[in-house]
C-alpha cells in the first residue's frame, strides 16, 4: 500500500482534499479508499520526517518552509521519549544494584541497556544504538547470564547481598552524583538546541582513517581477551587429561 502515490500531501501538511489513488486500471473500491485514508497521515508523517532530516543534513535547503504555517500545537515526542527512557535507565539501574536475586539483577541490566540504546537513537547516533543492542544486549548480557547460571547452583538469592561498607558506599555514590551534577549544572555548555543526526558514513570514515590504528589495536585486544578467557575458564582436570 505504501507504493501507491497519494496526492494532497506536501511536506507534512495534509490538505483537506481526500487522498486519491492514481491507479486508474483498478476500480476504486471502498476498501482501497479507506486504506488510502488510513495510510495518508502515516505517509505524511514519513514525508515530513524525511524532509526535516534532509534539510538538517543540507543547510542550504533549510530555507524552505517546512513546518505547517497554521500554528497548530505540536506534541513534543522527543521530550516524552527522553523522559520514558531516562526513567527506564535509572529505574532499571537502581533495580540492578538493589534486587536480591542476581538473575533478576541481570534482567534489569538488560532493560537498562535497551533503554540506553533508545537514548542513543534519540541522540541521532543510530550506529551506536545498533552496536549497543548487538554488543551489550546481545553479547555481554548473554555472557553474564551464562556465567550466573554456571556458578550459582540452585537458589541464586543471597541472605545478605550487601557488604558491611554499604553506608560508606551510599555516601561516596551520593558524593560522586553531587559533584558531577553540580559541574553539569554550573557549566555553560553553549550546546546546540537541536541534535543533528550523525551520518553512518562519516563515522565509518573517521573509524577507518583517523582512528585506524586504535581500531586495529582493539582487534588485537579482543584476540588477547579471547585467548585469556579460554585459558582462565578451563577446568584444571582437563589440563591433566590433555597432558
Amino acid at each position: 500500500m505504501a507504493s501507491v502515490p497519494i496526492s494532497g500531501i506536501r511536506h507534512g501538511t495534509l490538505t483537506s482534499n481526500p487522498p486519491t489513488l492514481r491507479r486508474p486500471d483498478l476500480p476504486l473500491t471502498t476498501e482501497r479508499r479507506c486504506a488510502a485514508y488510513l495510510t495518508g497521515p502515516l505517509l505524511a508523517y514519513a514525508t515530513a520526517s524525511t524532509a526535516a532530516l534532509e534539510s538538517r543534513r543540507r543547510p542550504s535547503r533549510a530555507a524552505e518552509p517546512l513546518e505547517p504555517s497554521n500554528g497548530a500545537p505540536t506534541l513534543d515526542i522527543s521530550g516524552v521519549l527522553f523522559s520514558v527512557l531516562a526513567i527506564g535507565v535509572v529505574g532499571a539501574g537502581v533495580a540492578v544494584v538493589t534486587l536480591r536475586n542476581i538473575i533478576h539483577s541481570a534482567v534489569a541490566m538488560m532493560i537498562c541497556f535497551g533503554s540506553l540504546a533508545g537514548m542513543y537513537a534519540l541522540l541521532g547516533a543510530p550506529i551506536v544504538a545498533a552496536a549497543q543492542v548487538l554488543i551489550y544486549l546481545g553479547a555481554i548480557s548473554v555472557l553474564i547470564l551464562f556465567a550466573i547460571m554456571l556458578t550459582q547452583a540452585g537458589d541464586a538469592s543471597l541472605p545478605a547481598p550487601y557488604h558491611r561498607q554499604m553506608p560508606v558506599a551510599i555516601v561516596v555514590a551520593l558524593g560522586i552524583l553531587g559533584l558531577v551534577g553540580w559541574a553539569v549544572i554550573q557549566t555553560d555548555w553553549g550546546a546546540a538546541a537541536e541534535v543533528a543526526a550523525a551520518s553512518v558514513d562519516a563515522i565509518a570514515m573517521a573509524l577507518f582513517t583517523t582512528y585506524a590504528l586504535p581500531f586495529e589495536i582493539i582487534s588485537l585486544l579482543l584476540l588477547v581477551a579471547i585467548i585469556g578467557a579460554i585459558y582462565l575458564a578451563r577446568r584444571p582436570e582437563e589440563d591433566e587429561r590433555a597432558g
Binding site: G93, C112, P161, Y162, H163, G181, A192, L221, L222, G228
Partner: protein, 102 residues
C-alpha cells in the same frame, strides 16, 4: 526537547548507581555488572557531547564504539576470572577471596 544537561544528569545518576553497586554488593558477578553500568554512563555522556557540542567530527561516537569493544573484552576476561575463582573457592562472595591477606 531533551537538553544536553538532561542527558548528562542521567549519565551521572547511572554512574553513581554503578559506583554504589560496585562498592556495596558482595557478589563478584554483580560487581562486574556494576562496572558495565559505569561504562554505559560514560558512553552516554560521550555520545551526548558528540551530538550537542561537536556534531561535525564524530569523535564521541567513535570513542563510544571503542569503549564498547574494550568493555566486551573486559567482561570476557573478568567473567572467566570469576568463574575460575568460584570453582576453586566454591563461593561468589568477594569477602571469601582473602588469601593474599592471610
Amino acid at each position: 526537547m531533551p537538553t544536553l544537561e538532561g542527558y548528562l544528569v542521567v549519565s551521572a545518576l547511572l554512574f553513581a548507581i554503578g559506583a554504589f553497586g560496585f562498592m556495596a554488593r558482595r557478589n563478584a558477578i554483580l560487581m562486574l555488572i556494576s562496572i558495565e553500568l559505569m561504562f554505559n554512563a560514560v558512553n552516554l555522556s560521550l555520545v551526548a557531547f558528540n551530538a550537542y557540542l561537536a556534531p561535525a567530527d564524530n569523535t564521541g561516537a567513535v570513542f563510544a564504539l571503542m569503549i564498547m569493544a574494550v568493555a566486551a573484552a573486559e567482561v570476557t576476561v573478568g567473567l572467566a576470572l570469576v568463574i575460575a575463582i568460584i570453582r576453586t573457592r566454591q563461593s561468589a562472595e568477594v569477602d571469601h577471596y582473602a588469601d593474599l591477606k592471610e
